[in-house]
């Protein structure tokens, strides 16, 4: 399908495709096994200038928007969903500063994130606060020129490897959701350490770690927006970033589909290529159509974000939910086409199943996405 890309978008696609095929694909299985952070690839992506796509030009970025971020994430996810999420998670950690940072904060943090010299992370989730983000226990208490943070964040993508973190903490516990605030915390600030690094089912090239705050002193200038804006920051950030996760899902699904079709043409049973059997052909047709439908939804949501449309919560939730459910289905079917070989680690396809699963879970489980979509529709129809 032709999405009528402009020249920039075509270039981003071409460049990300090149990175995926020449740099990422050859090492994807190695990182999946070792769980090392893929710094060599991060440097390639940084040198290519892809970290700054959605960051304003005044702060070293390219100002070419979220659709371009989606295109880059999708292309790289075709080769490895784990490496691509290191890239996408940095965008997730950068969005709050782009959206809510003041001039000083933007000037201080964005140029290094745009150049890829540093990567970012966004820290909301806690052991007791997953889908229920209002249960956050990490506190931030103002003491003179600082906020003092105490608490634990976990499952933080890029945790330990990122230099710049946006952390959500409660400045006023009595106010519930309205008592949360967002802070920019730098690696190395006193009282900020890292705990357990998770051993994951998929996206194993990415790091997922605990962040521990023990009387961590954060300068008061590092408060994003105002006290009490933490949840608004979180929701608006996710509205921006969800098309990116959705694009990751599209890329994983597309990558699995391509591998399955290639295999179906090579694999012979009953004297002919299995791609000549209608049973396989119908699977391929369904998989390809669903991937295309996901892609269309993701690009449409991303274009809405880029057009500056204010409320994109529903559309970006739809894109994330549909694309990730599709990725799960398509990768499982792709493995089915590989048959017994697909179940073995000697073949690349089982990794796609493992990588796809997380896209239904993180940045809001698909059940939460359905809540967002349904509530929005009910609200719209009540008008």
């Amino acid at each position: 399908m032709d999405y009528l890309f402009n020249d920039e978008q075509k270039m981003v696609k071409e460049l990300a495709h090149k990175i995926a095929e020449e740099k990422i694909r050859p090492v994807a299985a190695i990182y999946d096994q070792t769980q090392d952070y893929p710094w060599e690839i991060i440097k390639v992506i940084a040198d290519a200038g892809l970290f700054g796509l959605f960051i304003p030009e005044d702060y070293g970025g390219m100002s070419v928007g979220v659709l371009n971020l989606c295109i880059a994430t999708e292309e790289m996810s075709r080769a490895c969903g784990g490496i691509a999420v290191c890239y996408a998670a940095s965008a997730l950690g950068t969005f709050p500063i782009v959206l809510f940072g003041n001039e000083e904060q933007k000037k201080k943090y964005l140029p290094d994130l745009a150049s890829g010299k540093k990567v970012a992370a966004f820290a909301v989730t806690e052991p007791e606060a997953g889908s229920d983000a209002s249960a956050i226990k990490t506190t931030a208490k103002k003491e003179g020129e600082h906020y003092v943070l105490n608490g634990l964040k976990h499952f933080i993508t890029n945790g330990g490897d990122a230099e710049t973190y946006v952390v959500i903490a409660m400045t006023d516990k009595n106010k519930g959701a309205r008592g949360a605030s967002a802070f920019i915390v730098e690696k190395g600030m006193p009282g900020f350490t890292f705990g357990k690094k998770e051993d994951k089912f998929g996206i194993r090239a990415s790091s997922t770690s605990e962040l521990i705050f023990t009387d961590c002193k954060v300068p008061k200038e590092n408060l994003l927006s105002r006290e009490g804006m933490g949840f608004i920051v979180t929701m608006k950030t996710f509205d921006m970033s969800r098309p990116g996760v959705a694009a990751q899902a599209v890329g994983i699904a597309q990558g699995a589909l391509e591998l399955a079709v290639k295999y179906a043409k090579e694999r012979h049973q009953f004297g002919k290529a299995i791609s000549s059997f209608q049973g396989i052909q119908w699977m391929i047709a369904d998989m390809a159509t669903e991937v295309e439908a996901s892609r269309a939804l993701v690009y449409a949501a991303a274009r809405m974000v880029d057009a500056g449309i204010k409320d994109v919560g529903k559309e970006s939730a739809m894109a994330k939910m549909y694309a990730s459910d599709t990725a799960m289905k398509v990768t499982v079917d792709a493995l089915q086409i590989f048959g017994g070989y697909g179940y073995m680690k000697d073949y690349p396809i089982e990794k796609y199943v493992r990588d796809a699963k997380i896209t239904q879970i993180y940045e809001g489980t698909n059940q939460i996405q359905r809540n967002i979509i349904a509530l929005e529709i009910i609200k719209e129809l009540a008008k």
Partner: protein, 260 residues
């Protein structure tokens, strides 16, 4: 340090098919790329520029579509590109090509270094680089695998040999041809690709360069391609067996009786 890189656009495949009737390359459906060895020359030029500053220029001689090779070089970070394009240049062999390129380099004027890939993946002659240095009367080192040291007026390089390498010092300006061991070429950057798209490509023809018409194009080419053919595959062969001294005797006898 001002560096000129000479590049060539070649068909992507290493298995170029030949039309058996016309004995020419079948170019249809084959993507055109920068000669892979030239990518190392471009990379080395960019690294030297990052270290010493200056300007990098690529030159290529070819049809109008060779402009794509220049734009790709610019997307990698090369500052400027010059396309030598003229019907009068068509049919050039390595002599005429190196003469034409050297004419363009003379027109550019001041430079410190010329870099070329060791050879083109289509013709495989490895003659154009050395040809340019001869026409310009500057020193050359072929098969460079490392630039050990670069100063304003002198460079020390390692030249790859079949066994080991030579260390050579040369005064600048000079010409080097490079092998793939020298570096790992980078990918383009998005900014580079954007710049490449809108970059002005300078195009020079015969009248810009004012070359001797007897030394350019087909008529300036001493090499004439008379025939291209696939040599018949060797068949047979003979394996000698027995004790080593017996084999030696058999071999000597065979060489005496069979070899001409």
């Amino acid at each position: 340090m001002n560096i000129i890189v000479c590049i060539k656009q070649v068909p992507e495949t290493t298995e170029v098919r030949i039309n058996p009737e016309t004995n020419t390359l079948i170019r249809e459906g084959v993507k055109a790329i920068i000669n892979p060895f030239d990518m190392y020359a471009i990379e080395e030029a960019l690294r030297l520029k990052e270290k010493f500053g200056g300007k990098t220029t690529v030159i290529t001689m070819g049809p109008p579509q060779a402009e794509a090779a220049i734009r790709e070089a610019i997307s990698l970070g090369i500052d400027e590109g010059i396309l030598l394009c003229d019907r009068a240049f068509a049919g050039s062999d390595t002599w005429a090509t190196s003469y034409t390129l050297s004419g363009a380099i003379k027109k550019i004027g001041a430079f410190d270094l010329i870099l070329c890939g060791k050879q083109a993946s289509d013709g495989d002659t490895a003659q154009v680089g050395p040809g340019i240095s001869t026409h310009l009367d500057i020193p050359q080192v072929t098969y460079v695998k490392k630039i050990e040291e670069a100063k304003e007026k002198i460079m020390r390089v390692e030249r790859l040999m079949e066994e080991g390498y030579e260390i050579i010092e040369i005064p600048l300006p000079a010409l080097l041809t490079v092998v793939k061991e020298i570096n790992e070429p980078r990918l383009p950057s998005l900014r580079g690709m954007m710049r490449a798209k809108s970059a002005q490509i300078i195009t020079w023809g015969q009248k810009d360069l004012n070359l001797d018409p007897q030394q350019i194009g087909l008529c300036g080419s001493p090499t004439q391609v008379v025939k291209i053919f696939t040599p018949p595959q060797r068949t047979g062969g003979q394996i000698l067996t027995g004790e080593i001294t017996e084999i030696a005797d058999q071999l000597v006898d065979l060489l005496k009786s069979e070899a001409h």
